[in-house]
C-alpha cells in the first residue's frame, strides 16, 4: 500500500495529462478566436500602424449586403453540391463493387486511395499542367474519346469550364474517402440479414433498397458531412488550380477571405467574414448532425 500512496492521485494524473492539450488549444484556437471576434468590430488593417477604431457592426453589415460575397457563395455552393454529388455516386458504387470481395481487392482499394493521401497544393499545381490545352494529358484524353480538337477548350481558362475543372480534380482526389466510409458501412451489415431475406425470397433489387441502402445511409451521411465541412473550407487545391479565376468564377469563400485578409489587408473586415463563415458551418453542421442522429435511431 505504501507504494501506491507515493504515486500521484488519479485526479492529479488526469489533470496533468489533459492540461498541456487544453493549454495548447486555448493558446492556438480559443484565444485567436476571441481575438478575431474583437477585431471584427474594428477597422484594423494589419499592414498599417494607425489608431484602431471601433466601428460596431459595420463590417458585418457590409459583408451581408455585398453582392460580391454572394457571387462567392454561389461558386462555393456549386462546388459543394457537385463534388458531393459525384463523390457519393462514384464512392458508393466503388465500395459496393469492392464489397463483391474479388481477388486482390485490398491492393486495388489502396491504389484508389492514393490521391487523397497526397498534398492537394502540389497535386493541384500539377493538374494545371494536365489541363493545358493541346499538350495537357486531360485535354488529349478527352479529345481522343470525343473527337473534339484538344486545343479548342481550356479547362481552367474559360468561365464556363473552370467551375467544372475544380469539381473534377476534387472528385478525383476525395472520392476514395467516401468510398472507404461506405465500405465500412457495407462491411458492418451482417450476412445473416441477407440470408434471411433470401429465404423470404426477396429479390436482389429489393434487398438492395430495403437492406443495403438503409444500413449504409448513416455512414454515407457522415461521409457527406465530412466532405461538406472540408469543401466549405477548401483552399489549397483550388487556389493552385485556378487561383479563383478566371474573373471570380471559382473564387470560393476561403480564397475570397484570403484576398480580403492577406492581399487587401482589411483585417477587421476579414475577421467579421471569418466569424460569419464559422457560424454558418457550425450552424449547418449542427442541423445536419441532428438529422443524422434521427436516421441512426430509425
Amino acid at each position: 500500500m505504501a507504494r501506491r500512496i507515493r504515486g500521484l492521485s488519479d485526479r492529479a494524473i488526469a489533470w496533468i495529462f489533459v492540461a498541456p492539450t487544453i493549454f495548447l488549444l486555448l493558446a492556438v484556437n480559443i484565444f485567436p478566436l476571441i481575438w478575431t471576434i474583437r477585431l471584427s468590430f474594428t477597422d484594423f488593417k494589419a499592414n498599417r500602424n494607425r489608431e484602431v477604431e471601433w466601428i460596431g457592426l459595420q463590417n458585418y453589415q457590409r459583408i451581408l449586403t455585398d453582392s460580391d460575397i454572394w457571387i462567392t457563395m454561389q461558386a462555393t455552393a456549386h462546388f459543394l453540391f457537385w463534388t458531393i454529388f459525384f463523390q457519393v455516386l462514384i464512392g458508393f458504387t466503388l465500395a459496393w463493387l469492392i464489397n463483391r470481395k474479388f481477388k486482390g481487392n485490398d491492393l486495388w482499394t489502396t491504389i484508389i486511395v492514393l490521391p487523397m493521401m497526397l498534398s492537394p497544393a502540389v497535386v493541384g499545381n500539377f493538374w494545371t499542367f494536365l489541363y493545358q490545352p493541346q499538350i495537357g494529358l486531360f485535354n488529349y484524353v478527352v479529345a481522343f474519346f470525343s473527337g473534339v480538337d484538344p486545343s479548342s477548350f481550356e479547362m481552367i481558362g474559360s468561365v464556363k469550364l473552370a467551375p467544372w475543372a475544380i469539381v473534377i480534380v476534387d472528385t478525383w482526389m476525395w472520392t476514395p474517402f467516401v468510398m472507404l466510409i461506405c465500405l465500412a458501412g457495407l462491411r458492418s451489415i451482417p450476412d445473416y440479414i441477407y440470408e434471411a431475406a433470401a429465404i423470404d425470397r426477396a429479390s436482389k433489387w429489393r434487398q438492395f433498397w430495403t437492406i443495403t441502402i438503409p444500413m449504409v445511409l448513416p455512414f454515407l451521411m457522415l461521409a457527406v458531412l465530412f466532405r461538406g465541412i472540408e469543401n466549405f473550407k477548401m483552399f489549397d487545391l483550388v487556389v493552385q488550380l485556378t487561383g479563383g479565376g478566371p474573373g471570380s468564377t471559382t473564387e470560393l469563400t476561403s480564397i475570397n477571405l484570403k484576398r480580403e485578409a492577406f492581399e487587401k489587408w482589411r483585417t477587421g473586415y476579414a475577421s467579421a467574414y471569418a466569424i460569419i463563415l464559422f457560424v454558418t458551418v457550425f450552424g449547418l453542421a449542427s442541423i445536419y448532425v441532428k438529422a443524422l442522429n434521427k436516421v441512426k435511431e430509425r
Binding site: R3, G7, I13, A14, I16, F17, V18, P20, T21, I22, L24, L25, N29, L33, T36, L39, A46, I90, L97, R100, K101, F102, G104, N105, T110, I111, I112, L114, P115, M117, L118, S119, A121, V122, V123, N125, F126, F129, I135, L137, Y140, L180, I181, Y194, F219, L222, A223, K233, F235, D236, Q240, S254, L257, K258, A261, A270, A274, I275, L277, F278
Partner: protein
C-alpha cells in the same frame, strides 16, 4: 469457407466487379504516373503533342530542381574547362552553367523537421490526454471532445488571421517552432479522438492488476497501457505526419524565407517562360513518393484509421 453461401457473390459477379474497380484504379493513378514520368522527360518531350508515353529518360528535371543556373554565351562556354560531372554536362548542353544549389533541399528539410516535430508533439500530448479521457472522470468531458472536434470546422484562412498577428507579436513568424506548435494544435484534436478509441479498446483489468501489484498509476500507464496502444499510436502518428506534410494554407501565409515547407515552394519552381514542368514534376515526385509508399505498405493500418476515425466521430 467451402460450403455454399447465399451471400457469397458468384464468380461472374466478382469478375465484373473486379474489372470495373481495376479500370477505375488505372484511370485514377494516371495523373500520378504522369507526375513521375514527366520528372524524367526532357523539357521538349514534356510539352510535345501528342503527349509522349515513350520517351528517352533524362535527368534534366532533377538537375534543374536542385540547381540554379545562369545563361552564358557560346563564346564564354567554349572558354570554360570541360565539365567535370554529368550534371554539369546536362546544364552546358542548354548553354548554361550551374550558379549554385536551389532552395528545394532546404524546403524539403523544413517539411521533414516541421512534420516530424509536430507529429511527435501531437502524439505525445494526444496520448496523455486520450488516456485521461478514456480512464478518468474529467469534468466537462463530453463538451471538451465536442470542442476539440469543432475546432476543425474553422477554415484555415480564418484561423490564420489572428495566428499571423499573434506570431508577429511573439516573434514566431516564419520559424520552425511556430509551425510545429501550429500543426500540433491542428492535429491534436484528431490525435486525441483516434487515440481515445484505441485506448478504450484496451481492457482496464490490465492496469488494475498492475495497480494491485504495487505499480503507481503512472507506471501502469507507461508499462502496461503504452505497449498495448503501440499500433494505435503508430497509425495516429502517420495521420498527423501526413497532415503536416501536405499542409499548404498555413505554410503559404505564415512562412516565407527560413521555415517555408515544400508544398508552397514546389509550385513556384519556374524555368524559362513559365513553369519548368520536368523540374516541378521531379520535386513533386520526391515529395509525394514517400507518402505513396507509406500508404501502400501500411495500408491495413491506414485504411482502418481513416474509417475508424471518421466513423467514430
Amino acid at each position: 469457407m467451402s460450403g455454399y453461401s447465399i451471400t457469397e457473390p458468384s464468380r461472374r459477379q466478382k469478375w465484373v466487379a473486379g474489372t470495373l474497380v481495376v479500370l477505375y484504379a488505372l484511370i485514377t493513378i494516371m495523373p500520378l504516373i504522369w507526375i513521375i514520368t514527366t520528372g524524367f522527360k526532357s523539357p521538349v518531350d514534356s510539352i510535345s503533342y501528342p503527349p509522349k508515353v515513350l520517351f528517352e529518360p533524362s535527368l534534366e528535371g532533377y538537375v534543374n530542381l536542385f540547381t540554379t543556373r545562369t545563361r552564358v554565351s557560346p563564346e564564354q562556354l567554349a572558354q570554360l574547362p570541360p565539365p567535370k560531372r554529368w550534371y554539369e554536362e546536362i546544364v552546358r548542353n542548354r548553354d548554361m552553367v550551374i550558379a549554385g544549389p536551389s532552395r528545394y533541399g532546404e524546403r524539403f528539410m523544413n517539411s521533414v523537421i516541421i512534420g516530424f516535430g509536430s507529429t511527435f508533439l501531437s502524439v505525445f500530448l494526444g496520448t496523455l490526454a486520450a488516456y485521461a479521457f478514456s480512464r478518468f472522470k474529467v469534468p466537462l468531458k463530453d463538451d471538451l471532445l465536442f470542442f476539440i472536434l469543432s475546432t476543425r470546422m474553422m477554415p484555415p484562412i480564418a484561423v490564420a488571421i489572428p495566428i499571423f498577428l499573434m506570431f508577429r507579436k511573439l516573434g514566431l513568424s516564419d520559424t520552425h517552432l511556430g509551425m510545429i506548435l501550429l500543426y500540433t494544435a491542428v492535429n491534436i484534436s484528431l490525435a486525441v479522438w483516434l487515440l481515445k478509441g484505441f485506448i478504450d479498446e484496451i481492457p482496464r483489468e490490465y492496469e488494475e492488476a498492475a495497480l494491485i501489484d504495487g505499480y503507481t498509476r503512472f507506471q501502469a500507464f507507461y508499462k502496461v497501457v503504452l505497449p498495448q496502444a503501440a499500433t494505435g499510436i503508430a497509425s495516429t502518428a502517420i495521420f498527423c505526419l501526413i497532415f503536416a506534410w501536405n499542409e499548404y494554407a498555413f505554410a503559404v501565409l505564415l512562412t516565407s524565407g527560413t521555415a517555408q515547407t515544400a508544398p508552397p515552394f514546389i509550385p513556384t519552381i519556374i524555368g524559362v517562360g513559365g513553369q519548368d514542368w520536368p523540374a516541378v514534376a521531379a520535386g513533386a515526385t520526391l515529395f509525394l513518393l514517400p507518402v505513396m509508399i507509406f500508404t501502400i505498405f501500411l495500408r491495413k493500418h491506414l485504411l482502418r484509421g481513416i474509417t475508424f476515425g471518421a466513423v467514430r466521430k
